[in-house]
C-alpha cells in the first residue's frame, strides 16, 4: 500500500462496520453476491446483512452516487450510474455491444422460460433451425450448456447469470407471466377448424 494507514478516531457502530465490510466485498466481487454468500463471508446473520444492504442501497443510489447498488441475478452488485453512461461508453465495451436479432430474442425467451431446454425443443417451438442462433447466444455468454436430457440425450441449455444481469432481472422468477393468452388459443383453434372443414378430403 502506497499511502499510510490513516486511523480516523470516530466511533464505528457494528452496523456501520458491517456496511463497510459489504462495500468491500461488493467492490471486489466478480459476480452479484447473494445474501447467503455475503452472510458467510461477513459472518453476520442474513437479517443484519439485509439491513446493511438497505443502508447501502440508499447511499449507492442513482442520482446520489456514481456507484449504484442493484439487486440482480439472485444477488447484489455494484454498477455504474446511468448518469455516467456516456463516460463509460468511451472507455468500456457495452455488455451487449450489438442488439439482439428477433430470432435471438425469441430463442433466449424460450430458454429463459422453459429452460433447461434442448435444441430440438427450441426448434419445435420456433419452427426454424436454431443452431446458429444458439451458437451465437452461447458465444455472448447469455446461455450455457446445462447437462443432458439423459446419458446420451440432447444437450440442454439454460440462461446464465450474465443474462439476468444484462436484462436486470432479480432472478428468472422476475420474468413476467405470458400464459394469459387463453383466448388466443381458442380463437386460433376456431379458425383452424373452419379451414379444416372446408378442405377437400
Amino acid at each position: 500500500m502506497e499511502r499510510p494507514l490513516r486511523l480516523i478516531p470516530t466511533e464505528v457502530t457494528p452496523a456501520a462496520e458491517l456496511a463497510r465490510t459489504l462495500e468491500a466485498l461488493l467492490v471486489v466481487a466478480s459476480q452479484p453476491l447473494p445474501v447467503a454468500e455475503l452472510s458467510a463471508a461477513a459472518q453476520a446473520a442474513a437479517a443484519e446483512i439485509e439491513q446493511a444492504l438497505e443502508v447501502l442501497g440508499e447511499r449507492f443510489a442513482e442520482g446520489s452516487s456514481g456507484i449504484v447498488l442493484e439487486h440482480v441475478a439472485g444477488g447484489y452488485a455494484f454498477r455504474a450510474s446511468a448518469a455516467a453512461t456516456e463516460a463509460c461508453a468511451r472507455l468500456f465495451e457495452k455488455p451487449v455491444e450489438k442488439g439482439l436479432s428477433q430470432a435471438a430474442l425469441e430463442t433466449l425467451a424460450i430458454v429463459a422460460y422453459l429452460g433447461p431446454v434442448t435444441r430440438p425443443e427450441i426448434t419445435r417451438i420456433r419452427g426454424v433451425n436454431v443452431d446458429g442462433v444458439i451458437a451465437g447466444l452461447a458465444e455472448r455468454g447469455l446461455i450455457a450448456e446445462g447437462g443432458r436430457e439423459n446419458e446420451f440425450g440432447a444437450i440442454r441449455y439454460r440462461t446464465t447469470p450474465l443474462f439476468e444481469r444484462i436484462f436486470g432481472l432479480e432472478s428468472l422468477a422476475a420474468l413476467p407471466r405470458v400464459d394469459d393468452l387463453g383466448d388466443d388459443v381458442a380463437q386460433i383453434r376456431e379458425r383452424l377448424e373452419t379451414v379444416a372443414e372446408k378442405r377437400p378430403a
Binding site: V27, V28, A29, S30, A77, F78, R79, A80, A82, A84, T85, C88, A89, F92, K94, P95, V96, G99, L100, Q102, L105, E106, L108, A109, I110, A112, Y113, R119, P120, T123, R124, I125, R126, G127, V128, N129, F152, A154, L162, R165, I166, F167, G168, L169, L175, P176, V178, D179, L181, D184, V185, I188, R189, L192, E193, A196
Partner: protein
C-alpha cells in the same frame, strides 16, 4: 393473371422463383426447416399489394401451395411424432396445432418483453470479470497419502512395452472425415444405405465410418434403421422421415 410460381423470393435460405423452391423441396434438396415460410407469405402479400388489384385465382393457388408447404414442414419438424400425429382426429390435430401456435405466440410475447427490457438496460455498465485489485483465491488441498508419491514414482519406472509395428498397418482415418462426408451426403440426399456407401473401404475405415454415424445419431441429426439383423442399414436425415411418406401418400 399473376403467376404465383414465378414469384421472386429473396429468403435467408433461398433466392429465386417460388417454383424452383417448390421443386427443390420436393426433391428433398432443400430442407424445409431452413425456410422461413412467413417470409414467403410476406413476399406474396407485398407483390399482391404492388399490383393494386385482388387476384382471387392467384390467392387460391398460393394458399394451396403454401398450406402444403406448411403441412410438410410441420411434419418434418416433428418426425418423432409421426405415429402420434397420424392417429389424431382432425379436431385433435387442430387443437394440437393451435396449442403449438399459442406456444410460439408466447415465445414472441416474451421476446418482445425482453427487447423492451434490453432497451432500458443496455446502456448500464457493470464490470465483467475480476476486480483489478481483488484478493487472489488460495487453493487448498486436502490431506494426502504419501504412498501416492511412491506409487507415482514406481509408475515412472515401469518399462514401456516393446514397440509394436502392428499399428503401422492400421491407419485410422479421423472420425471428422466421415462426419463431413455423411453431412455432405445428407445435404444432397435425405437417406442412404450404409453398406452401399462404404463399399470398397477397408474394415478400419468402415468401423470409423460407423462411429461417425453413431455420433450423428447422438447429435439427433440422423435416424438409423435396420429391418432385420444383417439387413441393410438405412440412414436418413432426422427431419426427412416424415416428408417422404407424406409425399408418397399424396402423390
Amino acid at each position: 393473371m399473376l403467376a404465383v410460381r414465378e414469384l421472386e423470393l429473396d429468403l435467408d435460405a433461398f433466392e429465386g422463383p417460388f417454383d424452383l423452391l417448390l421443386s427443390l423441396v420436393l426433391r428433398e434438396e432443400l430442407p424445409l426447416q431452413e425456410v422461413d415460410l412467413a417470409e414467403i407469405i410476406i413476399a406474396f402479400v407485398e407483390h399482391l399489394d404492388g399490383r393494386g388489384e385482388l387476384d382471387l385465382d392467384a390467392c387460391g393457388e398460393f394458399l394451396v401451395l403454401i398450406s402444403a408447404l406448411l403441412e410438410l414442414k410441420a411434419r418434418a419438424m416433428f418426425p418423432e411424432e409421426e405415429a402420434e400425429l397420424a392417429e389424431l382426429e382432425p379436431e385433435e390435430a387442430a387443437e394440437e396445432l393451435a396449442r403449438r401456435l399459442a406456444e410460439y405466440r408466447r415465445a414472441k410475447e416474451a421476446a418482445n418483453w425482453l427487447r423492451e427490457r434490453l432497451d432500458d438496460r443496455r446502456d448500464l455498465f457493470f464490470r465483467i470479470g475480476p476486480a483489478p485489485l481483488a484478493p487472489k483465491a488460495e487453493r487448498k488441498l486436502a490431506q494426502q497419502d504419501p504412498e501416492k508419491l511412491a506409487g507415482a514414482l514406481r509408475l515412472l519406472a515401469v518399462e514401456p512395452p516393446e514397440p509394436s509395428t502392428g499399428h503401422m498397418a492400421l491407419r485410422f482415418p479421423p472420425v471428422s472425415q466421415f462426419l463431413d462426408r455423411w453431412r455432405t451426403l445428407l445435404r444432397r440426399r435425405a437417406r442412404f444405405d450404409f453398406d452401399q456407401e462404404v463399399a470398397g473401404l477397408s474394415r478400419v475405415e468402415i468401423a470409423v465410418a460407423f462411429l461417425a454415424l453413431l455420433e450423428l445419431r447422438k447429435q439427433n441429426e440422423i435416424a438409423i434403421a435396420q429391418a432385420a439383423p444383417f439387413a441393410p442399414i438405412r440412414i436418413s436425415r432426422a427431419d426427412a422421415e416424415r416428408s417422404l411418406s407424406w409425399n408418397v401418400r399424396s402423390a
